[in-house]
C-alpha cells in the first residue's frame, strides 16, 4: 500500500469565503482483510462528509466543520480551526470498491477498505531447452 497525501484544495464554502483546509491527523492500518483508516474530523457534520474512490486507487475524503461561535460571547483563546478537512490517499492494493464502508462516530471517521479477493496464484511452468 502506497500512501500519499496530496494537497488538493477542496471546494470552498457556499458563501464564497475561502475556508482553510485542515490537515487533520489520520491513522492507517493494514490488516489481513484490508485497509482501515481513522480520520479525526471533530465538529464535522455527517452530511458534509464525502468519500470518493476515483481512478487509479485515488481515495479522496472531504468534510466540513460546522462549528459556529456562540452568540454574545467574545473569543479570547483559540486552538481550534474551522474549515474543510481534506485528504487524498493513493491505495495501491486492489480494493473491493463495492464493500467500502464509512462510519462516523464521535468525530472520528472510520473507513473500511476490504481487499478484493485475488485470483488464485498461477504457477508458470519453466521449460528446459
Amino acid at each position: 500500500m502506497n500512501l500519499q497525501a496530496v494537497g488538493d484544495p477542496p471546494p470552498d464554502s457556499d458563501d464564497g469565503a475561502v475556508a482553510p483546509t485542515l490537515a487533520a491527523p489520520a491513522d492507517v492500518h493494514e490488516t489481513q482483510g484490508g485497509i482501515v483508516m481513522f480520520l479525526d474530523i471533530p465538529g464535522a457534520d455527517p452530511q458534509s462528509v464525502n468519500v470518493q474512490m476515483q481512478d487509479h486507487g485515488r481515495l479522496s475524503v472531504v468534510a466540513r466543520s460546522s462549528l459556529t461561535p456562540p452568540p454574545g460571547y467574545s473569543l479570547v483563546h483559540s486552538e481550534q480551526s474551522i474549515g474543510n478537512y481534506a485528504w487524498e490517499f493513493t491505495v495501491s492494493d486492489d480494493i473491493d470498491e463495492e464493500r467500502i464502508a464509512a462510519i462516523l462516530k464521535d468525530g472520528v471517521l472510520r473507513l473500511n477498505l476490504p481487499k478484493a479477493a485475488k485470483a488464485s496464484t498461477k504457477k508458470i511452468p519453466v521449460s528446459f531447452e
Binding site: 482553510p20 483546509t21 491527523p25 492500518h29 482501515v36 465538529g43 481550534q80 468525530g107
Partner: protein
C-alpha cells in the same frame, strides 16, 4: 492575555510536547503557501467570555462522554479522559500513526470563578462544549450614574 494563564498539565513528557509544538510550527511554515493549516491537535481548546460567564469548547474526537471526566473547582477546569486504540496492537501493520491514544489531562485556569452547580456540558460530533456561568454575586453590575442638578450660581 488569557492564553498565558492556561497551563498545560499533561501527563506526556514535556520534551515530547515541545517536539510536537515544533512539528506544528514547521507544518505551519511549509503548509501556509498551500492554503493548508497546521494540524488541529487533539484536545485543542477555544474559550469565549462574556459578563455572564465563559464557554469552553474542546476537540476530543473518538472520546465518548463515558470516557470523559470534567471537573470544576473555583477557577480551575480540568478535562481528563482516555482514548483507546481502535485496533488492538499487533493485529495490524500501521502505515500511518498521527493520532494520539492513551490517557490525557488538561487543566485550564479560567479568568474568573464559576458556579459549579450551573455548569452545563454537551458532547456532539467529537466536540465537548462547556457553559460555565459566573456566580450571580460575582457578575459585573452596571452602576447607575445619577445626574446631580447643577447648582444655581449666586
Amino acid at each position: 492575555m488569557l492564553s498565558s494563564e492556561i497551563r498545560r498539565d499533561n501527563r506526556w513528557p514535556t520534551a515530547f510536547l515541545d517536539l510536537r509544538d515544533a512539528q506544528g510550527d514547521l507544518n505551519r511554515l511549509f503548509t501556509s503557501a498551500l492554503r493548508r493549516r497546521a494540524q488541529p491537535t487533539f484536545l485543542g481548546v477555544s474559550i469565549w467570555v462574556s459578563g455572564e460567564g465563559t464557554i469552553v469548547r474542546a476537540s476530543v474526537p473518538g472520546v465518548g462522554p463515558d470516557h470523559l471526566n470534567v471537573t470544576v473547582q473555583g477557577q480551575t477546569l480540568t478535562l481528563a479522559g482516555q482514548r483507546d486504540p481502535e485496533i488492538a496492537e499487533g493485529t495490524s501493520t500501521q502505515l500511518r500513526a498521527e493520532r494520539m491514544h492513551g490517557r490525557f489531562v488538561r487543566t485550564l485556569l479560567l479568568p474568573f470563578r464559576v458556579d459549579p452547580e450551573q455548569v452545563k456540558a454537551q458532547f456532539s460530533l467529537g466536540v465537548l462544549t462547556l457553559e460555565l456561568p459566573r456566580p450571580a454575586a460575582d457578575r459585573p453590575r452596571r452602576i447607575k450614574i445619577e445626574e446631580k442638578p447643577e447648582e444655581k450660581s449666586k
